[in-house]
């Protein structure tokens, strides 16, 4: 500490202070010294807030209500208030690693009195970073694969419907059906290509068939919804995919759309709507819970297990749907549903949203454990046998996390798989 300072009530004060030639020395002279915060300019906050969509960043008054609910802070050092403080003290968010850690789970916005909206801020700043050529390598690959192949897994677009060959239930492709259908099922990238996603897609096909739903899929005309890429800063890629998908959706006649994933639900309901696409859309949990009167009698086999449910951020907080998945789980005979502490509005995040799905190694360098691992530990602590999910990002994330945390006893199953088990008795 500088000479000429006294410590008074844990605060350093000048022994003497002469302001405009007047000696005002005394215990109160700290009032005439700048507080630390004034040593910084608001430029880096303005740099963020000046971007369209990111205005609310400057509204933060640092109450820090967002920090304890931030899923990244729980395994690291993060949260909107901390980002604001860092911007105040010299960090340029646009080139900071912090930029890529937010999963846009929306729990901060839920508690923010000033409605500082990270779900808008993050994509806006990331878009600038992407345009300036700063993209983490793994994310770049997911962007390039999506642009080239229509899916972030880098699989052939031609093989998008290849999974249907494994299906014992018929999976009609709308181009071949040549007539209007009741339900257009948008399958999504992970259920089309990822082995564990395909398991859920096959279960869905069996359930739709058993319910005698008049449905069809788009097959190789379907491309990724692009919403997570948008949230990760690739708005141009999102627009390209949205234009493609909307033109395909409008090419065929159908009454309503059912989507497998919450991210697709968010994409079509909120973002494609801004581009003029407004049609009835349901997440599969909503669609099936609307058909529970016909589905329940088919659920003839008991699933004797203690099951806990992970609310997907983009179905729960983003769209307020907490009941439909639970209605389906409660309809399964023998199944005991236990809630984790962090559920519903305060549900934890799997780490896959907002581009997190493609930033695993990057995020790992900044956190003590994966968000998915943190969540699996919670599920295990509640004594669950099965962690039920209804977002295609989650099955592989949580299965890996169960293994890496030594919780192999915890099975991770999509609600579709659980319903299918109860229907067919194969567990």
């Amino acid at each position: 500490m500088d000479a000429g300072l006294d410590k008074v009530d844990a605060i350093w004060e000048k022994e003497t202070a002469i302001i405009d030639g007047i000696d005002i020395s005394g215990p109160w002279n700290r009032m005439f010294e700048q507080r630390v915060i004034w040593e910084y300019t608001p430029e880096l906050i303005d740099k963020v807030a000046d971007l369209p969509g990111a205005e609310s960043f400057s509204w933060c008054y640092q109450c820090a209500a967002c920090v304890p609910v931030c899923p990244v802070d729980m395994v690291g050092d993060y949260g909107p208030r901390k980002l604001y403080r860092k911007a105040q003290t010299g960090t340029d968010l646009q080139s900071a690693d912090d930029l890529w850690l937010c999963t846009t789970c929306m729990n901060c916005v839920r508690v923010c009195k000033k409605v500082v909206d990270m779900v808008q801020i993050m994509p806006a700043v990331r878009e600038q970073a992407v345009l300036d050529g700063f993209v983490p390598e793994e994310l770049q690959k997911a962007f390039e694969d999506t642009a080239k192949y229509g899916n972030p897994l880098g699989q052939s677009q031609r093989k998008r419907a290849a999974w249907t060959k494994k299906s014992d239930a018929p999976v009609p492709i709308i181009k071949d059906v040549k007539r209007p259908v009741d339900v257009l099922w948008y399958v999504g990238s992970y259920p089309s290509y990822h082995p564990r996603g395909i398991d859920a897609a096959l279960a869905a096909a069996r359930i739709f068939h058993a319910l005698d739903i008049d449905y069809a899929i788009l097959g190789r005309e379907e491309k990724d919804d692009g919403d997570s890429q948008r949230l990760a800063g690739e708005n141009g890629l999102f627009e390209m995919l949205a234009e493609h998908n909307i033109s395909v959706f409008e090419k065929y006649e159908w009454e309503q759309m059912v989507v497998t994933g919450p991210h697709e639900y968010n994409a079509f309901k909120k973002e494609y709507a801004k581009l003029g696409f407004e049609r009835p859309i349901q997440h599969y949990t909503q669609f099936l819970s609307d058909h529970l009167d016909r589905l329940s009698p088919l659920l003839t086999h008991e699933v004797q297990a203690k099951v806990t449910f992970h609310d997907p951020c983009y179905l729960g907080r983003h769209h307020g749907e907490y009941d439909a998945p639970r209605a389906l789980l409660n309809a399964i005979p023998g199944l005991e549903l236990v809630e984790m502490g962090r559920c519903r509005e305060n549900g934890y995040c799997c780490g896959g949203g907002g581009g997190g799905m493609w930033l695993d190694s990057f995020t790992q360098n900044h956190t003590t454990m994966r968000l998915s691992e943190r969540r699996v530990l919670e599920a295990a602590a509640y004594g669950a046998d099965i962690l039920a999910v209804c977002c295609p990002f989650e099955v592989s994330r949580f299965e890996d996390a169960a293994k890496s945390t030594g919780n192999d006893q915890l099975r991770v199953l999509d609600i579709l798989e659980l319903l299918d088990m109860s229907m067919r008795g194969e567990i």
Binding site: V130, G133, E137, K148, Y149, G154, Q155, K159, G236, E239
Partner: protein, 255 residues
């Protein structure tokens, strides 16, 4: 400085490759095309040279299936200044020798100081486009290059040999260089920039001269490899598997 990058549009290996009915090549109707990955490195290296020493980058390729525009727009979004394609009544496959002839005809007219191309391409692993361009244009050639800088009419290039041996060459410009890897990983081209290029960029066109000869090589047969052996999966819990591993190692005299 006038930098030209010669690129190749090749079948995408993300697709499961199908052999055509005649059994002599791929079924090109059942496969998507993509830019050869080594050419992507060449484009990156060209843009890096331009950023370091100034100049203008032109990217040029043979439009084998009439879908090269997207590749050229991407190159422009990454920092190339001009793009051109060689067009005609073309159908795949077009062998490297023919492509090299057409590229040389077009590139010769561009009076390049430096020609970069991928060291080889996944479609034929022939690796001849670079050397043949050099021969047709009567320029020196260095291949398997992993870094390049330019000053005062000379290029200093790093070449990679087997066993991790590196060499540094000085090459008088103009020259042709076959790029193995750019000094940095290829940069990302944001889709909005690519789309902007698609709207605004003019792609120059060169007519392919159909009278040039081919390589003289004919593919007599193409088939998928047949798997010869299988991995043996060891079943059981950790103890049992460990015992089996020890057994196998002892059996082979490795313990």
């Amino acid at each position: 400085m006038n930098i030209v990058v010669a690129i190749k549009h090749v079948p995408s290996t993300a697709d499961e490759l199908e052999i055509n009915d005649e059994g002599v090549n791929l079924d090109f109707d059942e496969v998507d095309f993509t830019i050869n990955e080594f050419d992507e490195q060449a484009i990156e290296q060209a843009v890096l040279v331009k950023e370091a020493s100034g100049g203008e980058v032109t990217v040029i390729g043979v439009d084998v299936i009439e879908e090269l525009d997207g590749v050229l727009h991407t190159a422009l979004a990454k920092g190339a200044d001009k793009a051109a394609k060689i067009v005609g009544d073309l159908e795949p496959p077009i062998d490297s020798h023919t492509q090299a002839r057409w590229l040389a005809d077009a590139i010769g007219g561009l009076t390049p100081d430096l020609v970069l191309t991928g060291v080889q391409a996944v479609d034929d692993l022939d690796g001849q486009i670079g050397p043949m361009l050099a021969a047709y244009l009567d320029l020196p050639y260095v291949g398997v290059v992993t870094g390049l800088s330019v000053s005062d009419g000379t290029a200093t290039v790093h070449k990679e040999y087997a066993g991790g041996v590196m060499a540094e060459f000085e090459v008088n410009l103009p020259a042709v260089v076959g790029v193995q890897a750019a000094e940095k990983p290829p940069r990302y081209a944001p889709i909005s920039k690519i789309r902007q290029m698609a709207k605004s960029a003019d792609l120059e066109e060169y007519e392919a001269d159909e009278n040039v000869g081919d390589s003289g090589c004919e593919i007599r047969k193409m088939a998928k490899p047949v798997s010869a052996g299988h991995a043996e999966m060891l079943e059981g819990d950790a103890e049992e598997v460990a015992e089996k591993i020890i057994e196998i190692l002892e059996e082979r005299g490795l313990l």
